[in-house]
């Protein structure tokens, strides 16, 4: 097996494990982190598939913006709960 295919299979396994973890784990923050890991490895796969533009977009969006949008939503839905109590 060549090195490049090995990296593809390793990244794919890590992505699938992270995706299953994101759907399976009870804790929402861990779930958000796991989705971030999925997008990180997707960016490396795009780079290996000779698509640097797409890799750069996925890196810029998935690194921070997407995580923070989900965290803000989580924060807001908790915040109202505290006010209600």
């Amino acid at each position: 097996m060549e090195l490049q295919q090995g990296i593809f299979i390793l990244m794919g396994l890590a992505m699938i494990i992270a995706a299953v973890l994101a759907m399976h784990v009870k804790d929402l923050i861990s779930s958000i982190i796991a989705v971030g890991v999925v997008s990180l490895f997707a960016s490396i796969l795009y780079l290996l598939m000779q698509a640097p533009d797409v890799a750069m977009t996925e890196a810029a969006i998935g690194a921070g913006l997407s995580t923070l949008v989900f965290l803000y939503a989580l924060h807001k839905t908790k915040d109202v709960e505290e006010e209600n109590d």
């Binding site: 090995g6 890590a14 958000i32 982190i33 890799a55 750069m56 690194a63 921070g64 923070l68 965290l71």
Partner: protein, 89 residues
Amino acid sequence: MTNLPEILFQVSTYFVSAGIILATLRLIKGPSMADRVVALDTFTVISISLIVLIACMSSRIIFLDVGMVYAILSFIGVVAVARHLEGGL
């Protein structure tokens, strides 16, 4: 002897891949979410090396731009989760 650098680069890629496997195990195991964030931090640093190694193996300088974006933006996600944990979001 002529392709010694290529062999050494391949061995380096194997080491980096082993690092990714170990950090994935920590991501699965991590008892608290802070442990998973540590795994994410490790992933980002390791993948910058992997990106530059891929650029070296395909010998195209344009791939380094992706590494630059990752190097300067990847810490923001970790900071976001950290600020959420300490209640400052």
